[in-house]
Amino acid sequence: MSIRVRYEKELNGIFDNLVLMCRHIEVAIEKCVRALSEQDYNLAKEVFEEDKVIDKMERDIEQACLKILMMEHPVASDFREVSAVLKMITDLERIGDQARDIAEITIQLDDEEYINKLVHIPQMAVIVIQMVKDGVQAYINHDIELARSLDRTDDKVDELFNIIMNDLIGLIKKNPENAEQAVMFMMINKYLERIGDHAVNIGELVEYAITGNHPKN
């Protein structure tokens, strides 16, 4: 096997694991928001397990990237691809933590009746799941347009964030007793919004990996 073929095989191994890590993250976000909506304590617990898997995958991918850097001394686009993965997995791991944080709040809320029907939070979850997927797909397929679209999609997330925040403020004003739950939901709101930001970071890393330039803000 030529050195180049071996290199590409190793890199493809990293790509496969990255896609797998992304899949676990989609599942974690989906489960944490479903557990919240359905007040399903057991499902929330499952997110903790997903997060452990995600943390381990981050370490494994990091080791594989460091091994490539040490053994192969990649340059040019090879180097950018590996360094982009190294940073991307940090964003992905943080997303996993945020899904776990949402699951923790779900457990804290226990079977309390919610102060409001959950409408926008699940909507936000659907969008951020797609954003994370698009970020990783853009990387795998070298799709710069898809990577750049994440910034625009994030505007929708920010819009929902503001709607939820205003709803919660309204609920607190209406009845101060709502404040305790409202604070919890505001935290969930912020976690989901941060997931969107991490996905935007991933899009920027993809652009750097493809073009060699960091996108202008």
Partner: protein, 253 residues
């Protein structure tokens, strides 16, 4: 005003008989920088650096056109003193090639040739050159033993000292570390980083990591042309030409 020793090459073509070895080369090499030449074997790198001190003159059927200037001086002018040119533009080769004589005589060779006869002056030049080449500490007690008995890495540093003793302005190095172990390679790389304060250094290397470690700018040669020439960190992080990318990432051929 200090004389400048940057190298300017304009529209340079070089033929070995019918073979077009360098094609329309245009490049500006700055003084006090290390400039690396990379590219596959046979792409013209060595031919190019040899043309900078007219070593190609020695090859039959070699024709060159265009302009190569060191500072303001076109080195292919009819009235160029070739011996003086080669004194000013020193060269170190891939394989260490000490003369079969003592360490001292190797280093004193050029100054003697150019007229320095006094023993104490020669002693000073030999000591200074060996110090500059980072070899003095290792050979000061055996200056009069045969240079062929030195290790490969020491021999190569001796060749550098010998080149420096001629008091050149430009140092050409054609794969100077390819026959050396990593420790000797490290010493020569350190040396280049130090010497660039006083000299213009042009190095041919097949070792990409070496180019990234030591050079300020890198030129990529392919089939006799310069495909890309840029700051080294930029060329290796984000090459602008697909052929450069393919070569440095090992996708070529």
């Amino acid at each position: 005003m200090d004389k400048k020793f940057n190298i300017t090459v304009r529209n340079c073509d070089l033929y070995y008989s019918e073979f077009h070895a360098l094609k329309n080369i245009n490049i500006e090499i700055e003084e006090h920088e290390v400039t690396a030449m990379i590219g596959p074997s046979g792409c013209g790198k060595s031919t190019f650096i040899k043309s900078l001190n007219r070593m190609n003159d020695l090859i039959e059927d070699c024709r060159i056109s265009g302009e190569i200037k060191i500072g303001d001086q076109n080195i292919y002018d009819k009235n160029t003193d070739i011996n003086l040119l080669r004194k000013n533009v020193g060269m170190v080769f891939q394989k260490p090639n000490p003369f079969p004589m003592s360490v001292y005589d190797n280093v004193a060779f050029a100054p003697r040739t150019f007229g320095t006869k006094k023993k104490n002056e020669l002693d000073k030049i030999v000591e200074r050159s060996l110090k500059q080449a980072g070899l003095w500490g290792e050979v000061r007690d055996r200056l009069y033993t045969n240079a062929m008995g030195l290790s490969g890495g020491q021999q190569q540093r001796l060749c550098i000292a010998r080149a420096l003793a001629a008091d050149p302005q430009i140092l050409l190095m054609d794969e100077p570390t390819s026959a050396l172990d990593p420790i000797s390679t490290g010493k020569i790389e350190d040396l280049m980083s130090m010497l660039k304060a006083d000299y213009t250094i042009v190095i041919v290397t097949h070792n990409m990591q070496q180019a990234t470690r030591i050079s300020d700018k890198t030129a990529f040669f392919l089939l006799g042309e310069i495909i890309e020439y840029n700051k080294t960190d930029e060329l290796f992080a984000n090459p602008q030409d697909k052929r450069t990318e393919n070569y440095i990432t090992g996708r070529f051929g």
